[in-house]
Each structure stands twice: as structure tokens, then as C-alpha cells.
Amino acid sequence: MFEIKDLKFAYKKSVPVLKGVNLALEEGEIGVLLGKNGAGKSTLFKCVLGLLKATGEILFDDKDISKASRTERAKLIAYVPQELSFGELTVFDSVLTGRIARFGLIAGQDDREVVNRVLEELELTHIATKNVNQLSGGERQKVAIARALAQEPQMLVFDEPTGNLDVQNEQLIFGLAKRIASEKKITILIAIHNLNFAMDFGDKFFMMKDGEIKHTGGVEILNENTISDVFGVKAAILEAEGRKAIVYGG
């Protein structure tokens, strides 16, 4: 189980960005973080990843990892960013960088086997020797996920992973993430802007505003009132053939 308890962070003391965030996710559960730009989602992710030092607790199975070393943290949590950058490396080498926390200085045969297995699972084997920078946006996003999976983490953090992708690739990446959560029992914490995708995708929702989580729960918490409160827009929930869709305005 992954838990965040009373997490607080401020870039300047007088302006707190996170004002005591609490959230919990079970193993293999997908938690979707929703909120306007500037609500504190990216800062929360950076605190979870250890890129920023916050006060409060970050717990894995009741063990506080907020003071764990970078290597220990990398074995537990992996990151898939929105802006992808790899350098001029092959797909295989890019994914192998995900093993650094495991191998230390020199990559061994077992690390190469893990990479080969991950590439196979994500159907990237045929492009393993290609330069990542010559791939399409969707393929590059899959390589970023493969790099994260090569860390063999207990949790994946996705920061708006489909922001630069077309609808087809967006569906492909979300489908992949869902498969990873259910098959590998990896907990996922993800920030998504598109509420309709979020509804289809998440198990648990955390609606964030001004550095606090205002609403927590299942898909039922996404309604006209909470959307208006968190995003400041009018919305209507339409239902057809057992599926819900959010329509804005009106």
C-alpha cells in the first residue's frame, strides 16, 4: 500500500504549494490526480520522486521512504514524464538506463535480460536498435514506460503522459498503463487533464486545488459540483449505453 500523509512543501516559506496532502492507494490501483494548472500536481510528483524535499510522510507498506537514498527510491518508484528526452541513444540503451539503481556501475547480463523482457512485453523489440530520437511520439512514450518498468518498481508516476499525443496514441498509452497495473500489480499515480479519459481509466480520483486534495473517491466523485469547485467551469455529466461523458459549458 502507498500512502502520503500530511505532505507540505513551499518554494518560498510565505507561499506554500502543498498544504498537507493526504492520499492512499492499494497495490495495483490506479490513482488519478486531477486539477487546474498550478494546483500543485507536478510539485506533488516531484516530492514523491524525491526531486523536492517536503515535510510529511511517504509510506510504502507503512515504511517511510521520504528519507530513503536516491537508489532505494528508484527501486520503488519510477517516473514517466510528459516532456521526453533521451539523448542520442538506442531504444535498448535508453531502457537500460532504468537499471542503474540495480546494477550500480556496469550493466550485467541479468540487466540486459530484464531489458529484453520489458521490450518484448511492450512490443518494442523490433525497434530495439533504433535511435530513440527517430521514433514517433507514441513510440517514444512507450520507450519511456519501458525505461520505468526496467526499474522493476512498485509504483509508476505518470505526469500528463499523453499531453503531446494524438487520440490513437493516447488510448494506446492508457491501455498499456492499465494492463501494467492489472498484470504486474504496479500502483499507478497519474495526472490527466482530459476528464473523460480519466473517468475510463482510474480506480480512485484525487481532485486537487490550491495545494490541497479537496475531493477523494471513486468515479462517482466526478460530478457537476466537484468539477465546478476544482476547475471553475460548468459541466454536465451525460450517460448513454452505460457510459458517462462530461460535457463542458452550458
Binding site: 537508489t71 528508484a74 533521451f86 541513444l89 536498435t129
Partner: protein, 360 residues
């Protein structure tokens, strides 16, 4: 799926073979160039004379042995070591600063070394204790080791100063580059001030010192450089995968377990100290640290496991080649090797830049 995996293994095997062939060829070429650089020079000796002289080390009556062992051997060793060191320092600077324009001197080490050397030559008449800038003292007390030592002390102090300042901004790459330029400008201004007060002899000595020249090096200095540059390249090679992770940006590198700040400071400090040592012993040798990493990255990609050893070999090869040209082209006058590296390197680099196919 199995056939796809088999194909990929085949391609990976072919890539490994290709890289092994390139490394072996470069190594062989460097060995050949080492002997060419050793055996060719102002004194026209036949290959047979050269090989015979190899067996007469220490024989003060054999003029050929003296030329081969006392004059040429230290400079070819310097070419191999300084070429490898400067090229790898350039590569690591470019990676740690995420800046393709970064060079071994980005932190202002060369400017600081030149200031230190000028201070020693002009201010202390080329020694430690003498003072004044009169002709007799400059001629009589000039001590190359003192000049190199003071140049090294100033360039090391400059690196420490830049890094200490940048600690305030958490070692942000852009801040480091700009701080390096600013501190370098201060040293250059100081050098100009010193030169205003120099005698003609002192000024000439100071200016000539700053030309990159392998001829002034001693075997002891070679061994000091070899020890430091060798250890630095081994250290960088061990950190190859961490540098690879850094290519994806600081946040990605941190998320896979890399201590980015420590890696950046280590890379900049060790890379700058390599440069400081080479400049202090040999003067300024430009362009090796820019051209070699770029050519290697363009041909073989950015994986540091491959690019660090190949960049080192390429640097040695370029400096051996440039030194051979520098000593043979001007009919008895050895040109500054620093000028030859740029003169030969820049057109080749431009050719590569505009004609080489992008790596797959």
C-alpha cells in the same frame, strides 16, 4: 515474436562487431601514428636509424638516440596523453552541462592558467622567488616547472571558485557556463594588465608560453599527466551509464537513481583539472576538446560506454597527427601544435557537420 527477437539480436551483434572494428582500427591507427610522430621530425633520420636508436637509450654519444629518446619521446607521450585527456574532458563537459558548445575550458581554466603563467614570467621573472621584470632575471631564472606549477594553481583555484559560486544556484548548467565566462574574462583582463608592465623579453616569453607546444614537456611531466588523465578516464568510464542517464535530463537521471549534482560537480571538476594540467604543462591546445567528442557522437551515438574510450583514442590520434604536421610543414620550424589542431580540425569538422549521415 521469436524471429523478431532473433533479428534484433543479430542486429545488436552486428552493431557490436562494427564498434569493435572501429575501436580496433582507431587503436591500430593511433599506434601507427605514434611511431610516425616519433620517427619524423626536423632531423631527417631514416626508419632504420630510428629503430637502431631505440636500442641505445641513455647513450649520450649517440645523437640519434638522444633525439629519439630525449627530444621526441616526451612529446609523443604528451600528444597521446593530452589529446586523450582534452578530448574526454570536452565530452564530459558537454554531457554534464547539456551544452554542445561546452569545451574543456568552459570554466575559464585556460584563462586562469595563462594569467598564472604570465604572473610567474612577468611578475617573478619566470621563477618562484625572484621579483621584478628585468631582462637578466627573466633569462637567468626562467624555471618552466615554476611557471607550470603557478599556472596549475591558478587554474585549479579558478575552477574551485566557479564551482563554489555556482553552489548558490544549485549548480544550474547555464549558471555554470556564464560564471565560467565571467571568471575567465577577469583572468584575461588581469593578463592584459600584467602584459602592459612587461619588458619586451618578458612579454615575448609570456605570449610564446601560451601557444600550445608539446616540445617543452619533460618526461616527468608526462608521467604526472599520464597518472592523472589515466585515472580520470577510468573514473569517467565507470560513470558511463550515469552520464547516459543525464542525457535524458536532470529529473529523469534523478528518478533512475543518479545523484545528478554530485555527478555534475565530479565531471566538471575532474574535466577542468585535466585541462588545467595540460594547459599548465603544454600551453593552450584548442579544438581537440570540441571536435573529437562531436565527431565520435555523430558517428557512433552518445552512449558513453563507447564514446569515452573512442573519444580518448581520437584525441590522441588528432594531436599526434597535428604535432607531426607542426614539426614537418615549416621546413625546420616547429609550429605551435595548438594552431595546427584548429587549422586541420576545423575544416574536417565542418566537412563532417555538413556531409555525414545521421546515425541510425
Amino acid at each position: 515474436m521469436e524471429s523478431v527477437a532473433t533479428n534484433v539480436l543479430e542486429v545488436q551483434k552486428k552493431m557490436r562487431i562494427k564498434k569493435a572494428i572501429i575501436i580496433s582500427s582507431l587503436f591500430l591507427l593511433t599506434v601507427v601514428m605514434f611511431f610516425v610522430c616519433w620517427f619524423v621530425g626536423v632531423a631527417k633520420m631514416s626508419v632504420k636509424d630510428c629503430f637502431e636508436a631505440l636500442g641505445h637509450r641513455g647513450d649520450v654519444n649517440d645523437i640519434n638516440a638522444l633525439i629519439i629518446w630525449n627530444t621526441r619521446f616526451p612529446r609523443v607521450i604528451a600528444a597521446v596523453v593530452a589529446g586523450a585527456g582534452l578530448a574526454v574532458a570536452g565530452l564530459i563537459m558537454q554531457t554534464t552541462l547539456g551544452n554542445v558548445m561546452a569545451s574543456p575550458s568552459t570554466l575559464g581554466v585556460s584563462n586562469a592558467a595563462v594569467f598564472g603563467a604570465n604572473l610567474s614570467i612577468i611578475g617573478f621573472a619566470g621563477g618562484f622567488l625572484s621579483s621584478g621584470a628585468d631582462f637578466a632575471k627573466t633569462v637567468n631564472t626562467f624555471n618552466p616547472f615554476a611557471v607550470s606549477l603557478i599556472a596549475f594553481l591558478f587554474s585549479s583555484a579558478s575552477v574551485m571558485l566557479v564551482l563554489a559560486l555556482c553552489r548558490i544556484k544549485k549548480f544550474s548548467p547555464n549558471t555554470i557556463v556564464l560564471a565560467g565566462i565571467a571568471i575567465g574574462a577577469i583572468w584575461t583582463a588581469g593578463t592584459t594588465m600584467l602584459q602592459i608592465f612587461a619588458t619586451d623579453v618578458g612579454l615575448s616569453a609570456a605570449v610564446i608560453w601560451s601557444f600550445g607546444d608539446l616540445g617543452r614537456v619533460t618526461l616527468t611531466q608526462d608521467y604526472i599527466m599520464l597518472g592523472f588523465v589515466g585515472a580520470a578516464i577510468i573514473l569517467f568510464f565507470c560513470l558511463s551509464w550515469r552520464f547516459n542517464a543525464m542525457l535524458g535530463g536532470d529529473n529523469i537521471a534523478r528518478s533512475v537513481g543518479v545523484n545528478v549534482t554530485a555527478l555534475r560537480v565530479t565531471g566538471l571538476l575532474v574535466g577542468s583539472l585535466i585541462t588545467a594540467m595540460c594547459v599548465s604543462f603544454l600551453g593552450i591546445i584548442g579544438f581537440v576538446g570540441i571536435i573529437c567528442p562531436h565527431v565520435v557522437k555523430k558517428l557512433l551515438g552518445h552512449n558513453h560506454v563507447v564514446s569515452i574510450p573512442i573519444t580518448a583514442l581520437t584525441g590522441s590520434l588528432l594531436l599526434l597527427f597535428a604535432d607531426t604536421i607542426a614539426r614537418t610543414i615549416a621546413n625546420g620550424i616547429a609550429l605551435p601544435v595548438g594552431a595546427v589542431t584548429s587549422l586541420l580540425g576545423a575544416p574536417f569538422f565542418l566537412f563532417m557537420l555538413f556531409t555525414a549521415k545521421e546515425r541510425v
